[in-house]
Amino acid sequence: MSDGPTYAETCRGSLARQAAEAAAERRSLLEEARCGISCAFGDSRVVAKRYLLHYLRQPRLLVFSTIQPVMFVLLFRYVFGGAIDARALPSADYVSFLLPGILVQATTFGATNTAVGISEDLRTGVIDRFRSLPMSRVAVLAGRTLSDLVRNTFVVLLMTAVGYALGFRFQNGIIAAVGTLLIVIMFSYALSWIYAFVGLTAKGAETAQTASFVVTFPIVFASSVFVPVDTFPSWLQTVAEYNPITKVADAARGLALGDPLPWLQPVLWAMAWIVGIAAIFVPLALWRFRRGD
């Protein structure tokens, strides 16, 4: 009897080693196939480009996201603005009051397109095509919301330019001005994720559109976007006080106009809403996307 392993043991050992090697090779293959951060960025850019082309090539969307907000600025300034008593406003004139608010309105309405676009992609099978590709699992939604971000930045700058032509001025210097635009853009980015989730969940583009509109419209109007909330009946005031749109509009206004408007508290509130919405809806939308049907 020698101390060495028997033939059977040698065989078993070599089989076990082979199995372990095969498993390791498999793991490294899988590791390599997983789409990392840089791959996720690259894929998101490809997807974002697609959606931006949609904007540029569909007159309906282009009008909805650029001409309509500008028309709203003009409409409120010249049609309703005259009827608004400037003494009831915390600012010198209505256009100063209006512009920060209407930036929030325009980007919020614009965000509903995300729901429609995603739901349309589900129907036509484009999302299925994406899900069958070895691309990043987050890139479709990240790309879509990235394209929204680009569009919103453009819309906000365009509307600010129109506002300047009508007499609006940032009153607290360049940093506060950038802060005004940033808070509006960040809020609309968080909203994109809500609407992405709606688009993934709703049965059909029409439902997505209706659902988005039915919720968005009252929230936007029952806020401080167009007029100060202290003119509302008291029950509506309560609603409006807690409305995130009010917080964001107040924050934008506080940063843009300053004294006598408070800015710190509304900005903190707005940031809390932005972070809160993102913390809930980014994972929720991604989960819904991964799960499929």
Binding site: R26, L29, L30, A33, R34, C35, C39, G42, D43, V46, V47, K49, R50, L53, H54, R57, Q58, T124, G125, V126, D128, R129, F130, R131, S132, L133, P134, M135, A139, G292, D293
Partner: protein, 335 residues
């Protein structure tokens, strides 16, 4: 190793059983057909294999990679052209393909090169820079197929690839399929065109109500029909039942009855010719008028009819795009 290995796959939607336990082993390098009527579960199988859908239970592997545990690896080696073209309407044909190429992580140059190749191969180069919304249904279909080939997949899934194609495009696609197989690609295609399965597939599975009811090479399936088919037409529709009784007695197998055409078909045993004679005599004695009586080679239609008791291409609950009543007309002018 099998290209595709499926074990006891089950999937239900609410009360609907889409797959009731499917097993398949598909060798590498062949065209494998999934044949079945509307709602049989073909698309469900394809979607599970393409990692788009999770089964309730069972296993599925593509080239040894598990679709549930290693979907990232599966997605790298497969191509999918679903039942309905999944192309972007707003982008041009070229942009569609280049985008898919980039999402396969090809370099920009490589994506461009393969895009041009595929546009040429699918006869879309003239329309390459037009928005897809101006494409005809067949052009969209071809673009979708082109997109599924950008990664030069080892295993390709085609869900009713020729539905909605005109005969010329259909022949073109058949050529492409043959080329792909020559290059070593394994294809799983679903079809309702039996003629197509007959021409293209080396093996096929007939599925119905979520279960495989027959599997084998096309020749095996035909041979199981008994080699030949006895077919006759009865002049008087009222006597179809009598005629069926006679055939059952003489041929010792239950005939399939097509009431509209007044046609009976039954698998014929090896001694086909004597069967024809005996059947003719029996009809004569019973005084049943037959207008046509003879033997012919079985088609997959017969196989299907015999297995499911149904005709394969009758649209049941949903509209079948381009449902041609006679599959025989499909590939005319080719062989």
């Amino acid at each position: 190793m099998d290209a595709i290995h499926i074990q006891d796959l089950e999937k239900t939607y609410g009360d609907t059983v889409a797959l009731a336990g499917i097993d398949l082993a598909i060798p590498e390098g062949i065209v494998y057909g999934l044949l079945g009527p509307n709602g049989a579960g073909k698309t469900t199988v394809v979607r599970i294999l393409a990692t788009l859908l999770k089964p309730d239970s069972g296993r599925a592997e593509v080239l040894g990679f598990d679709v549930l545990r290693e979907p990232e690896l599966v997605r790298r080696i497969i191509g999918l052209a679903g039942q309905f073209a999944a192309v972007d309407e707003i982008l041009t044909g070229r942009e569609n393909l280049e985008m898919v190429g980039r999402l396969y992580h090809l370099s920009a140059g490589e994506a461009r090169r393969r895009t041009v190749d595929l546009l040429e191969r699918f006869d879309l180069i003239a329309a390459a820079d037009r928005a897809v919304k101006t494409y005809s249904g067949g052009m969209r279909r071809r673009l979708d197929l082109a997109a599924s080939l950008l990664n030069r997949p080892a295993v390709l899934f085609l869900d009713e690839p020729t539905t909605g194609l005109d005969p010329r495009s259909r022949l073109g696609l058949w050529d492409i399929i043959n080329d792909l197989v020559r290059e070593g690609t394994t294809l799983l295609l679903t079809t309702q065109y039996l003629e197509e399965a007959d021409r293209l597939c080396q093996r096929l599975a007939v599925i119905d109500e979520g279960a495989v009811i027959e599997e084998g090479t096309t020749d095996e399936l035909k041979t199981r029909m008994g080699g030949s088919v006895l077919e006759m037409r009865v002049a008087d529709g009222d006597r179809l039942a009598d005629a069926a009784g006679i055939v059952e007695r003489v041929a010792r197998s239950t005939p399939q009855v097509d009431r509209e055409l007044g046609r009976l078909t039954a698998p014929a045993e090896r001694d086909g010719v004597s069967l024809v004679v005996r059947t003719a005599e029996a009809f004569d004695e019973a005084g049943v008028d037959v207008t046509d009586l003879g033997l012919r080679r079985p088609t997959l239609d017969d196989v299907f009819l015999n297995l499911t008791g149904r005709k394969p291409m009758q649209p049941e609950d949903e509209e079948t795009p381009g449902d041609a009543p006679e599959p025989a007309g499909v590939g005319e002018g080719r062989s």
